[in-house]
């Protein structure tokens, strides 16, 4: 049964091909059927394979199958291979199941759009590329998937291409992630030339044997891979593309920019964690970047008024948590949080989409209000998602995953108090900003009219995701709450045995974190449910207003890069407007024209002149013969 693993990425790829070739020929119902059906099929097969794997694990808890040899050049012969182990299994299941739910939702959400066909083609292509990424057994094949998801991200962000701003956002996303991709590519070159292979498992074995911990070469390789991860996962300093990527349709934001593509960086680092462990300075950098990002993004989310931008900054912040976990060596915690985050973030985005589609695509939360009674399905979905994000204690999945990360940030190999502090402070800010959104959107006076109704295709994914967002956490609970370690035991073959920490200090930290998230909810209630005059006045005072604008602009990163990179580049292009290099080619043309002017005088058309030159020529020839 495991041999059929290649079908899982092949079906969406086939679906994408069919939809692309038949563009415009099929009726929308059939397009929807193909688009969603291919993913449903993929999800079913993935689940069957998953169950098979868990019940009857293959030897060594991993399964490799080589599909075909790509090329053979000397000692370089990469293959298209699939590697199935618990990590890729979890990723595959999340991608296919969440993808299926989102596509089902979007078959209703995108109904009536003239690019309906294109949308499903791109989404299927994306899922195929993402599956290639997570199932690849060598880094080159992984890179193929990496590039594929980057391409689909570009295509889908700029989906409504008639609007120039969307094209700009798509290009920005592509260019910024390109910076990361270049780092990754150089890293691949380095790994291949130093270790002679790009297959992941042999690579890590050889790295362990040949490289010392902390050696320069290991640090360089790990740093290059990190650059690739930062680009794709929108961490500081390459996080600027994700808020603008919200220009794409909401299902796209849900699938690509929340649940799956942006976590590709996390997957990459988790997959090559042996390399990272060989470079402690880079691992420290990962943790630092994660901590900085989660703080910066959380504060930025506090001040947004577009509901999707709030969720975008929230995504950046939560991926920061995953990076933090990777940085302290808590690999399973990062993957656990990834899984839970995929559920509740997709839920939040789909709920936000459900809201906007009933409000004539109004995105500004200050123009929404009082929707709790009018849109109950959206309200409860969003509330459950928000609770999971805010890590509401005990009942939500987000609580358990966040606790796992925070406890590892304190204890565990490399745990440092400052990281833990950043984590809990951000937990406070997280619940503050998300419940700010909840209270402003769903309570208060209604400001926009509601129209339409919900189809089953909208409500069913919302319900399923809500259930998952509440219950998915119960596979891994902290020491003081039952010590369930199903998840980390499952991941043990990839990451090593889990370390369980118990004790009163641990429980105390647990309670501090829970209290802070509840406090955030409370503060949000106080401030935003019935905003008092004092609060509004204080918020509009000049210093606070400037601070708020700074946060609104994402801590000024866009302006920084604009001044640092974009403007000098534009300046250079303006200077080179007449294109120095082009002058070279024009010079060739004008030189030949000049030569023509000179030679043109010898074409007089007079017979005697030509005869004279004939004679001169023959004289020269004879002279050459004579003088030899």
């Amino acid at each position: 049964m495991l041999n059929a693993i290649w079908i899982v990425p092949a079906i969406p790829l086939l679906g994408a091909a069919i939809l692309m070739i038949s563009c415009g020929l099929l009726p929308p119902r059939m397009v929807g059927a193909i688009g969603v059906g291919s993913l449903a099929l993929s999800a079913i097969i993935a689940s069957i394979i998953g169950i098979n794997f868990m019940l009857a694990p293959p030897p060594g808890n991993s399964f490799t199958i080589i599909l075909w040899r790509w090329m053979t050049i000397g000692s370089f012969s990469p293959a298209a291979g699939v590697y199935l182990d618990p990590l890729s299994l979890v990723m595959m299941l999340v991608v296919t199941v969440v993808g299926f739910l989102i596509l089902l939702y979007s078959s209703e959400f995108m109904r009536g759009d003239e690019g309906y066909n294109r949308f499903f083609a791109y989404m299927n292509l994306f899922v195929a590329a993402m599956l290639v990424l997570v199932l690849a057994d060598n880094l080159l094949f992984l890179y193929v998937g990496w590039e594929g998801v980057g391409l689909c991200s570009y295509l889908l962000i700029g989906f409504w291409y008639q609007e120039p701003a969307n094209g700009l956002a798509a290009r920005k996303a592509f260019i910024v992630t390109r910076i990361g991709d270049t780092g990754l590519m150089i890293g691949l070159f380095l790994l291949f030339t130093q270790l002679g292979t790009l297959e992941i498992q042999p690579l890590m074995l050889r790295a362990n044997q040949s490289w010392f911990s902390g050696s320069e070469i290991a640090t360089l390789a790990a740093a290059l891979l990190l650059i690739g991860a930062i680009g794709k996962s929108a961490q500081i300093p390459l996080q600027i593309w994700l808020p603008d990527a919200m220009a794409g349709p909401t299902p796209v934001s849900a699938l690509i920019h929340a649940a799956t593509m942006v976590t590709a960086g996390v997957y990459l680092i988790a997959r090559t964690h042996v390399l990272l462990a060989l470079a402690p300075s880079v691992q420290m950098a990962v943790a630092a970047i994660g901590a900085a990002t989660l703080l910066v993004a959380a504060f930025a989310a506090l001040n947004q008024h577009d509901i999707k931008r709030i969720l975008a900054y929230s995504t950046i912040s939560q991926i920061g948590y995953m990076f933090l976990a990777l940085g302290v060596g808590a690999w399973s915690a990062a993957i656990f949080h990834f899984m839970v985050h995929a559920f509740f973030k997709a839920l939040l985005f789909l709920a936000a989409g459900a809201i906007t589609m009933r409000l004539h695509h109004e995105h500004n939360i200050f123009r929404m209000g009082g929707l709790a009674r009018r849109l109950p399905v959206a309200f409860w979905s969003f509330l459950i998602g928000a609770a999971s994000l805010a890590a509401l204690p005990l009942v939500t999945a987000g609580f358990y995953s966040k606790e796992m990360i925070l406890s590892a940030a304190w204890a565990g190999g490399g745990g440092i108090p400052i990281l833990w502090t950043a984590g809990v402070v951000t937990a406070f800010v997280t619940s503050l900003y998300i419940f700010r959104a909840v209270f402003i959107v769903f309570f208060g006076e209604p400001k926009t009219e509601v129209s339409g109704h919900y189809d089953l295709r909208i409500t069913l994914p919302l319900i399923v995701l809500s259930v998952l967002a509440l219950t998915a956490g119960f596979v891994e609970t902290p020491g003081g709450l039952g010590s369930i370690t199903i998840f980390s035991k499952f991941m043990a073959s990839v990451f090593g045995e889990p370390s369980i920490t118990t004790g009163s200090a641990e429980t105390l930290r647990l309670m501090i974190a829970s209290l802070l998230s509840l406090a955030g909810i409370g503060l949000a209630y106080v401030l935003y449910m019935h905003p008092s005059q004092q609060f509004v006045a204080w918020a509009d005072s000049p210093a606070i207003l400037r601070w708020r604008q700074f946060l609104f602009a994402g801590w000024g990163f866009d302006r920084l890069y604009n001044g640092l990179i974009v403007q000098p580049f534009l300046y250079v292009t303006r200077i080179n407007r007449n294109d120095v290099v082009d002058h070279l080619y024009q010079g060739i043309a004008s030189a030949s024209r000049l030569l023509h002017q000179l030679l043109h005088r010898s074409q007089t058309g007079r017979i005697r002149w030509y005869a004279g030159w004939l004679a001169a020529g023959s004289i020269v020839t004879i002279a050459v013969a004579v003088l030899r």
Binding site: G612, A615, A616, S618, I619, I622, A623, V626
Partner: protein, 165 residues
């Protein structure tokens, strides 16, 4: 016989020189005839009797006659002022230089070789005929084709059609 050769040679050179310096067309042609006759005599002294006869008959007797017809038709006889004007001295400078250089080159080539002495044989027309229709038969046929082509071409080109040219 050597005397005859030298005499004929100098006549040829002198009259050729006069051909190219005459402004009057008819005079030039007449000098050309003299030059050709002198060259025929040179042929005779070298033992090529058949070639000498052909020179007189075909060259001086047909080709130059064609030129005479043309000159008469186009009324180039009588010194035309224009023709004389075209023969100003400075026109000669360039060609003269070229010619001198060419001549010196050719002379140096010939002098450096070892030419030898002529064989004292008279080559009869019969020998020429045997050689011509023996090894050189193909060239003869090609020459006939050439003449045919020239005939047709000359007729077609000179013909004044109804369109007027």
């Amino acid at each position: 016989m050597n005397v005859a050769f030298y005499f004929a040679a100098s006549t040829a050179v002198l009259s050729t020189f006069l051909v190219i310096t005459q402004a009057n067309g008819v005079h030039a042609l007449l000098y050309l005839v003299v030059s050709l006759l002198a060259v025929a005599l040179v042929f005779y002294t070298l033992g090529a009797v058949f070639a000498a006869a052909l020179e007189v008959i075909v060259y001086a007797g047909a080709i130059v006659i064609l030129l005479v017809f043309l000159v008469m038709m186009l009324n180039l006889g009588g010194t035309t002022a224009r023709e004389a004007q075209w023969l100003k001295p400075q026109v000669w400078v360039g060609p003269a230089i070229l010619a001198v250089i060419l001549e010196s080159e050719l002379v140096s080539i010939m002098v450096s070789g070892n030419a030898g002495a002529p064989s004292l044989v008279v080559i009869l027309p019969r020998d020429v005929g045997i050689t011509m229709f023996g090894p050189y038969l193909l060239c003869v046929e090609l020459a006939s084709v050439l003449l045919l082509a020239a005939l047709i071409g000359a007729y077609r080109l000179a013909h004044i059609g109804r369109s007027g040219g």
